[in-house]
């Protein structure tokens, strides 16, 4: 994070950085996720939060309220009956917010090529990260969260979804 370290005499070292970097450092290391277990992927998501895979290490704490959450992990099959509510919960989340679409069902509808399943959660809400697998193992979800952290760190801190941002690798 720190770009320069300056040491004054015998005092404490001072770290110099940019506002973007320190804001993104804070954001990316405290990704509070909205519990959104819709189907069997939800079990894997719960396992990721439990002791063996321990998401708390990443600062990812599952919250039951959209107002306390930054990232929505859509874990499971999104039915058309439920699409309205996922959109409402997404709208209730405070900016900045991100969405991980976890598993085949949330990505494309998966094997449920039927009348009642939304064919990809991105028809309803914007998705930042698509996580393949059926169901993805907790390691995969961990990797997705790490990728999302990377993504957050390279974005400007005052990002606004309505203004197209220049993207950096």
């Amino acid at each position: 994070m720190a770009q320069h370290q300056v040491k004054f005499g015998n005092g404490l070292p001072v770290a110099l950085t940019t506002v973007d970097k320190i804001v993104n450092w804070g954001r990316s290391n405290s990704l509070w996720a909205l519990t959104y277990g819709l189907a069997c992927c939800g079990i894997e998501m719960m396992a990721s939060g439990a002791s063996r895979y321990d998401f708390d290490r990443f600062g990812t704490i599952f919250r039951a309220s959209p107002r306390q959450a930054e990232v929505m992990v859509i874990a499971g099959t999104l039915t058309k009956k439920h699409a309205e509510f996922i959109r409402r919960l997404y709208d209730q989340m405070a900016e900045p917010k991100w969405v991980i679409s976890m598993g085949s069902c949330a990505n494309t509808g998966g094997m449920f090529n039927t009348y009642s399943i939304v064919q990809g959660a991105d028809r309803v809400i914007p998705v930042d990260l698509y996580l393949p697998g059926c169901a993805p193992r907790p390691e995969t979800l961990q990797y997705a969260v790490m990728m999302l952290q990377k993504k957050i760190r390279r974005e400007p801190a005052n990002r606004n979804r309505n203004i197209p941002q220049k993207r950096f690798i």
Binding site: A83, M111, T114, Q119
Partner: protein, 273 residues
Amino acid sequence: MSMREYKPKDNVQARAYYTDRFYVAPQLSKLSPNSDEIYNLDVIKLKENFEILDAYIQKDELVIYINSFDNLKILKFLRDDLTYGFLMEMSAVDFLAKRDGFEIFYEMLSQVKRKRIRVKTFLKKGLTIETVENLFRSANFAEREMFDMFGIQVNNHSFLKRIMMPDDWHGNPLLKTYPLQGDESAQWYEVDKIFGKDAREIIGPEIRDSARVDRYDTERFSRLGHEVSKGTDIYKSEPSNTAVQFQEKGGVFLIKNLNKPQKILTEKERRDR
């Protein structure tokens, strides 16, 4: 038991999974109800009180056909007098094309006799059936499901409302005429409801091919061979292939790139694999 008929498997993946869509499964043999002592007594008692259109034993289970207006009385009789005190399941079967109506079945269990009875009745399209909710509490949800999935009206039901599909859903999904991937209102349901009908053009139709890859969509698909950053517009200027690089080539000690020439299999070799 004979072996399953052999079918060539050359393009088994390409063919539709269900080839014979209108295959009618062969029926198991139907035995007379007097071949079982307990069932025989039950049928005799039923026939004394009600009109029983047909009765037979199929796969060790008694099946009786009744008139649809008798259902409440017969189920009450089965429950109170013949100890069939458990409604395991009830629903309907769509026979609209063949017989212009539905077959409604009630699966009953007697824990005293350790026997099951299937009560079936035929309901012409447009007719209604009396609720059995007051006899069996479980019928409440089952009848709501029947109403939801088939559109069968149930008389005197306490809360006849869709149970699985949303209230503003159009159509009854378990009808055989209902398309598997939904009619138009189903396909646009979530878009219409959340964003309004005007958003249809922006969002576009559903992509039903889950194996679809759009090579120009760099938002959602990464490209193998020549990677570009996410969101790059490559419609006009598609980057040429970048050469594949191996780290072994840069002089990793003792490790060499296995340069095995790729062989293109002939059609026969591929099939024999």
